[in-house]
């Protein structure tokens, strides 16, 4: 379990991301960022505040509101010697850029028979709960995960976010990182003083347990951890596994955990239908079937556009109570 470090500091999720970007911008002059209001405004979430002061407006580049245009520009720049980090303010705008990502960035290396490379990072946001309604609240990481040629990262802690961001920037493939916008200034965690990277494609066990495995992504890791605490009170020991990257997927860690506990719930904030939960459940069904004592269960966002009203929005996202109830019933308690 990669966890607190004695000589670390506790910093926010957003600040860990900014640190990773700053270190890579310092290390490699070909790295630059582009997106809307990322320079003086430091993004609409104020996550990149101050970067422009150190790196200037040429490397922290404000763009017009032209997502397909600047994403395409990044693809071209990545193919020809630069390492762009694209900022797409809301993951909901993925529809606008999808041709550039899915038909261009993802396929160029393969189509060129390995001759061309697209070393770019696309950062965008996910997560509901901000009362931002249907076009600003979706978690669309499954869209990217469907496309071969893309790597997809969904960090849950400041430590993971920083280490994975640095790997993503150094990767020679297009890497999409989806950051939960509600975690930027609410989730704090230990991050070492010294430099480190986390390889893409390695899951992490966030809590050890023996009765049931809760596989959770991004902010759902906290939902799972809260559920695990509730479960502990009724004598159920839950293990919480965070895949951290969806593509490539560390199947082995997930499968080993379920083989040990023989029960699994998969919790993810994307829409449940045809989503990440379905893919992960199929991995468990394929590779741990004979170890299972209960059906694999999935909990995703409800299959509805995210409603604005708090009274409705809160119903659409998995919560600790729901996970607790589901886990209890799987464990026959």
């Amino acid at each position: 379990m990669s966890m607190p470090n004695a000589n670390g500091r506790e910093i926010f999720f957003g600040d860990a991301i900014k640190e990773a970007l700053a270190e890579e911008l310092r290390r490699d002059p070909t790295v630059f960022m582009l997106g809307e209001d990322i320079a003086e405004a430091g993004t609409t979430f104020k996550v990149l505040n101050g970067l422009v002061d150190e790196f200037g407006k040429d490397r922290i580049l404000d763009t017009p509101i032209s997502e397909p245009g600047f994403t395409g520009l990044a693809v071209g720049a990545a193919m020809t010697g630069l390492r762009p980090v694209v900022d797409i303010m809301f993951g909901d705008f993925s529809g606008l850029i999808m041709d550039q990502v899915a038909n261009q960035a993802a396929k160029i290396h393969y189509m060129s028979g390995g001759k061309l490379k697209v070393p770019m990072v696309l950062r965008t946001t996910m997560g509901a709960g901000r009362r931002s309604a249907a076009q600003h609240s979706q978690s669309l990481h499954a869209w990217y995960s469907h496309i071969p040629g893309l790597k997809v990262v969904v960090p849950s802690t400041p430590y993971d976010a920083k280490g994975l961001m640095k790997s993503a920037i150094r990767d020679d493939n297009p890497v999409v990182i989806l950051e939960d916008k509600m975690m930027y200034k609410t989730v704090k965690g230990y991050v070492p003083e010294e430099e480190y990277i986390i390889p893409i494609g390695v899951a992490d066990i966030k809590r050890e347990g023996s009765d049931i495995t809760l596989i959770a992504t991004s902010s759902m890791v906290y939902v799972a951890l809260d559920a695990a605490k509730l479960l502990e009170e009724v004598g159920i020991s839950a293990e919480v596994v965070d895949p951290r990257t969806l593509v490539p997927l560390d199947k082995q860690t997930l499968v080993e955990s379920v083989k040990k506990t023989s029960r699994a719930i998969i919790i993810d904030e994307g829409y449940e239908q045809y989503g990440v939960t379905a893919e992960l459940a199929s991995v468990i069904a394929d590779e741990a079937f004979y170890y299972l004592d209960a059906p694999v269960k999935r909990m995703g966002a409800m299959n509805v556009p995210i409603p604005f009203s708090p009274a409705l929005e809160d119903l659409t996202i998995p919560n600790a109570k729901g996970v607790f109830e589901m886990a209890k019933s799987l464990c026959n308690k």
């Binding site: 809307e36 209001d37 003086e40 405004a41 609409t44 404000d62 763009t63 017009p64 509101i65 032209s66 397909p68 245009g69 909901d92 705008f93 606008l96 901000r130 009362r131 931002s132 309604a133 249907a134 076009q135 600003h136 409800m302 299959n303 509805v304 556009p305 409603p307 604005f308 009203s309 708090p310 009274a311 409705l312 119903l315 659409t316």
Partner: protein
């Protein structure tokens, strides 16, 4: 209809006194509504954020007063003014903003998605430029169905970064569709001055398609209205689309939470617009100078509207949230 002559003998043939007073009332209603929205945000009674239209009232009112009830509009994230100007009622709008069942969209849409078919409002849109296809499609349907309706597409100058806008304009001109693109140039795309995001001339963009293009003072409701009447007539006669560039300014932040703004626009600039070019003051002083109204009339309008706004907000505050079942209702027709 009374002919009005100004001192400068500019003739206002199409707008009579009653109409002008009505437009004052509409503009004041928008302002009072928005001030109340800000209040609701600051007192933490409103979920999420809202983008206030204060300062830009003359555009929505001047344009919508040139439309019939059956005509269509599409609106933006900064859409409350458009909705009200097209005839929405303030109690249902407040209820929507508070996520209540009595709101226009049962609380599912919120500030950025208010739609009201009864007044021809096809909806606000939280995707910048996202409604240009929709407005153009509505104009296409009007033409195909021969119902004589016109569609107005409101958008901010930031939307000029979006390719969809140009694709839509091209088709509108090719097929002579009755759509008017109303560009509200309030100088800023969020926190970025348009000069940093928009190369060349704004007008020339539409002119390149051969679209009838007019630039107006967006703080002068008479000018906006007179121009809109002409463009609507042009569209209704089947002569094709138009592009109306309105120069304006938003007094408040990009959204209600954007308080510290000096890093992107100076206080003096804000004060200059507020003091020297306010759409309400511009109209009231013009009416007064021309002997068509006195202070008493405006006071009366303002007190009536303020009372209406107060009642509406109380209605919304006391209205119930939608029932949980509402969350899965309306996913499919």
């Amino acid at each position: 209809m009374a002919q009005v002559k100004t001192k400068k003998s500019e003739s206002i043939s199409t707008i009579d006194r009653e109409q002008l007073l009505h437009m004052y009332e509409q503009m004041f209603k928008i302002r009072a509504f928005e001030e109340q929205v800000n209040e609701l945000y600051q007192s933490a009674k409103m979920p999420g954020l809202a983008h206030l239209y204060i300062g830009e009232e003359a555009i929505a009112v001047g344009v919508c007063e040139a439309l019939n009830k059956e005509d269509y509009i599409t609106s933006t994230h900064r859409g409350h003014g458009h909705c009200l100007a097209k005839g929405a009622s303030i109690d249902k709008m407040f209820a929507e903003l508070l996520g209540k069942d009595a709101g226009y969209c049962h609380g599912k849409g919120g500030s950025m998605h208010i739609a009201d078919q009864d007044t021809g409002n096809l909806g606000a849109n939280a995707i910048v430029g996202g409604s240009s296809g929709i407005a153009t499609g509505a104009a296409f349907a009007s033409k195909r169905l021969g119902n004589g309706r016109v569609a107005v597409c409101f958008f901010g100058e930031g939307a000029l970064g979006q390719g969809l806008v140009y694709e839509s304009m091209n088709m509108a001109q090719l097929w002579k569709l009755p759509v008017i693109y109303v560009c509200e140039n309030n100088l800023y795309n969020e926190y970025t001055h348009h000069s940093e995001s928009t190369a060349g001339s704004m007008k020339a963009r539409a002119e390149a398609f051969g679209i009838l293009t007019v630039e107006v003072d967006g703080q002068n409701v008479r000018e906006v209205h007179e121009t809109a009447i002409k463009l609507v007539e042009h569209a209704r006669k089947g002569e094709g689309p138009a592009f109306m560039l309105c120069n304006t300014y938003r007094y408040h932040g990009h959204h209600v939470g954007d308080i510290a703004r000096e890093y992107y626009r100076p206080k003096e600039e804000e004060l200059k617009w507020k003091n020297d070019n306010d759409p309400l003051k511009n109209l009231s002083s013009w009416l007064t100078e021309n002997g068509l109204a006195d202070a008493g009339i405006f006071e009366q309008i303002e007190s009536t509207v303020s009372k209406e706004v107060e009642e509406a907000v109380n209605f919304a505050l006391n209205a119930p949230f939608p029932a949980p079942e509402e969350v899965t209702n309306h996913v499919y027709a």
